[in-house]
Symmetry: C2
Subunit: 123 residues, 2 copies
């Protein structure tokens, strides 16, 4: 049982801020891409469709700051920087994976519901 004082729905509860980490536009995608593997900066950029350099860097910094991602920079030329999930980040692995699977599995149902809704509200 979780203490009642820990309420993610309360905007002042710290756990609420923690949840904001995941609700970012790109955070989940980065976490998803890094599951169980190490990727270089450019590999992440290529793997995640439509992300800009700025947002990728910004998201990685935020995830690193929150202890979900570990960064390793090799002082060579050309530079080589690798990113991987920390143990804390890996603890989100199952949830992120499930979320991705849910999105794929229920995509048809969502699209159908959307068409249905739009049709019923257009006339």
């Amino acid at each position: 049982m979780t203490a009642p004082s820990l309420n993610v729905l309360s905007q002042h509860c710290p756990s609420h801020r923690v949840l904001e980490m995941v609700t970012g536009k790109w955070s989940v995608l980065v976490l998803y891409a890094l599951r169980g593997r190490t990727l270089r900066y450019s590999e992440l950029e290529g793997t995640i469709g439509g992300i800009s350099q700025k947002m990728l860097t910004q998201t990685l910094r935020e995830l690193e700051r929150n202890g979900l991602v570990e960064r390793t920079a090799y002082p060579v030329v050309p530079p080589r920087t690798e990113y991987r999930l920390s143990p804390l980040g890996e603890s989100l692995n199952r949830i992120v994976t499930d979320l991705g699977l849910w999105a794929q599995d229920h995509m048809p149902a969502v699209l159908a519901a959307r068409q249905d809704y739009d049709r019923r509200h257009s006339k």
Copy 2:
């Protein structure tokens, strides 16, 4: 096994759009609040901290459009409108619950990592 063509990381894949549904700022909180129970509009407003009428209505409409939430309006005075998760919405129940639990359980670790990061990058 999921077909390779279904890739949430690809911005053009429909499942990517489905994922965006959940990454909204308020969507997860509404889904979390509605798990296994029916709530009135004003109850949702009171339950979710810091949400404005506009955002609550907008989020509910979006969730309804995507088939995750069912709306029932009773034509009485004063008006009474109830919201609950559809079967499709309930299929997200476990994931949303796990996400909330994760946020609460790992909140200390995240806060610690944050302090650590800030301290190491301030000097």
